[in-house]
């Protein structure tokens, strides 16, 4: 698929999350391709700070006009920060999916083996 932005410095899940790795803290959002597929996003159900998450299980829920989609955690860990600004401006994910991160997780295990680099993700689209 042409036109979607895929920054080189991030990792990607086949379920269309992007992951920025900074030591044992990872930042998670959804990709430009994902926001494009979802259409106008109207609400993001954020996790709570301190919440334990499991790899492959739901981290957040994104509600768009025509559908609702889960955002999956790419590793086990604990949520240390959420992007509270999304509560009022969920549509900023449509405007810039990579600036509009969803949550930061302090990981307690390995990252999902399914994560790929930018080239690998482009090949999936």
């Amino acid at each position: 698929m042409s036109g979607s932005i895929v920054p080189e410095d991030l990792k990607y899940a086949p379920s269309h999350e992007w992951v920025r790795i900074d030591g044992d803290v990872i930042t998670v959002g959804i990709t430009d391709h994902a926001q494009h597929e979802l259409g106008d996003i109207v609400f993001v159900e954020l996790p709570e700070v301190g919440q334990k998450v499991e790899q492959g299980k739901g981290l957040a829920v994104i509600e768009a006009v025509k559908t609702v989609a889960d955002v999956y955690a790419p590793a086990d860990g604990e949520v240390v920060e959420v992007n509270a600004a999304l509560a009022d401006s969920a549509g900023s994910i449509n405007a810039d999916a990579y600036a509009s991160w969803i949550a930061k997780i302090k990981i307690s295990g390995p990252l999902s083996a399914e994560l790929v680099d930018a080239a690998g993700y482009k090949a999936l689209l």
């Binding site: 259409g39 106008d40 109207v42 609400f43 509600e63 006009v65 025509k66 559908t67 549509g91």
Partner: protein, 485 residues
């Protein structure tokens, strides 16, 4: 248009002194309100009711009704889910005074006819579905799902088994996981295979002694028959898992096969989808459940029993108890009963065949333009893959809005989730060949427009009272009030 004044409310149109009827001559002495109702119960200020003549009120509502799409006006391409023909005679029968003047708390001896109707309807649904016992109490399909899962849970607990998981395919109706979650189960998703059917190997890998039930729709939501259903049932039964059939698509099977014969333990019926009771509007509805004999003792109470022609109400100790006030929505049952009697066994035997024929006839007419993701054969519905529209800068939602410009309703779109840009079409057994031909023409015309003048489609609707609605604003900032003053 002089009389097209529907943008204003009745309150805005109100003028003091306007009345529907003239002054009535009283032939009994008039008694003031103050002698009938103590002052403390009377309102201080008169209610503000609109004041209009009868003609103005009639025109107001007739004009509004012409702006809506409705089944008496035009075709719905996803019939049984959205709106489909309901025989008008059902309405006359449901309005018989012998039914409408009953009170649910009357002694059973005084409502024998109503109880007999319910007893007979339960048996008719049982015969049609191959189930041993039926409860008519649940108020809708999703309520039936919840009730059935509570029955399944009670059954397992009676055997000392506290099974916590329910398996559900990724093509399922969203109500399946919702019902399972409300019933206290953990939902586990089963994948679809590349042919659109359940991935039976994935199912088998997830089955186990902790699985209470597997919920499956057959034919499934992409309109394909689950051909391995008997193998699925056997695999589930081998580990004690109950197999639940979501009966949303039962009209495809009526007269052809029966869920009970295929191995299902429990199912729900949507009376509005298969047995011509009214659709939509939030009810009242009826979503009966049918079960095999090992689950019968757990059905909701009260149960109608027939003791040699005398009908009584029983509350079995093992029942999960009532799930609705009194007996459920009785007048909906009257409509379904009337339909089944009117159709008779011969008529019902044609329902499934006609539903399947209509869907496949329509698909044959439009498949050159747009095709399905999964190969058929299709049953009573088919799901088109609208993703080729994206190359033209369009989406399924644009296509659906443009269809409405031609006087037909839009199909269900973006469901099921396993088909990108999905467009689900089910003409149902009640539409004529001429209607299907006309819809196919409209469909192909809109497809031509997508290629030749995509902007027309992108900015649709053009011929409807409302143009493009701002979906984002509607989802985030919906205002459903109107300033009164």
């Amino acid at each position: 248009m002089l009389h097209d004044d529907t943008g204003r409310t009745l309150f805005e149109k109100s003028r003091p002194g306007q009345r529907g009827t003239g002054e009535i001559e009283w032939d009994v002495p008039r008694v003031g309100l103050d002698t009938l109702v103590p002052a403390k119960f009377r309102r201080k200020k008169a209610p503000r009711l609109p004041e209009l003549s009868e003609g103005e009120v009639v025109r107001h509502f007739v004009n509004l009704s012409t702006k809506n799409h409705h089944i008496d006006k035009g075709f719905y391409p996803l019939g049984s889910c959205t709106m489909k023909y309901n025989p008008k005679v059902n309405e006359s029968l449901a309005r018989l005074a012998g039914f409408t003047t009953l009170h649910p708390l009357q002694p059973a001896e005084t409502i024998q006819g109503a109880l007999e109707l319910m007893w007979r309807l339960e048996r008719m649904l049982g015969e049609i579905s191959g189930m041993d016992s039926v409860s008519l109490q649940p108020a809708a399909g999703a309520h039936g799902e919840l009730t059935a899962l509570l029955v399944v849970r009670a059954y397992h607990l009676s055997r000392g088994e506290d099974r916590r998981k329910v398996l559900i395919p990724d093509s399922a109706h969203g109500t399946n996981p919702a019902s399972a979650a409300i019933a206290g189960f953990e939902c586990v998703t089963v994948k679809s295979a590349p042919d659109g059917r359940t991935d039976v190997e994935d199912l088998k890998s997830k089955l186990g002694p902790d699985v209470a039930a597997f919920m499956i729709t057959n034919p499934n939501t992409v309109g394909i028959f689950e051909t391995r259903v008997e193998e699925i049932c056997a695999a589930c039964h081998a580990v004690g898992t109950q197999v639940y059939m979501d009966g949303a698509n039962l009209n495809a099977l009526v007269g052809i096969t029966r869920p009970g014969d295929l191995g299902f333990d429990v199912m729900h019926f949507n009376l509005h989808k298969t047995f011509t009771t009214p659709h939509g509007g939030g009810g009242p509805g009826c979503g009966p459940i049918g079960v095999k004999s090992h689950l019968s003792a757990f059905l909701p109470s009260p149960r109608v029993e027939n003791h040699e022609g005398k009908f009584t109400l029983a509350k079995p100790a093992t029942s999960i108890g009532p799930v609705h006030g009194a007996f459920g929505n009785f007048l909906i049952m009257v409509r379904a009963y009337a339909y089944i009697l009117a159709m008779g066994p011969e008529g019902l035997a044609n329902v499934g065949h006609t539903a399947v024929l209509n869907a496949n006839y329509l698909y044959a007419k439009i498949k050159e333009g747009m095709s399905c993701k999964f190969d058929g054969p299709y049953m009573h519905e088919f799901v088109l893959d609208g993703s080729p529209l994206k190359a033209l800068g369009l989406h399924t939602s644009d296509f659906a809005k443009r269809l409405m410009d031609f006087g037909v309703y839009a199909p269900t779109i973006y469901f099921p989730l396993i088909v990108p840009e999905a467009m689900m079409i089910e003409p149902t057994e009640t539409e004529s060949r001429e209607t299907l031909d006309r819809f196919a023409e409209i469909f192909l015309e809109v497809l031509r427009e997508c290629k030749e003048s995509p902007e027309t489609v992108h900015s649709a609707p053009h011929n409807l009272p409302l143009k493009r609605v701002d979906d984002v604003k509607a989802a985030k900032d919906l205002i459903l009030t109107h300033p009164f003053e």
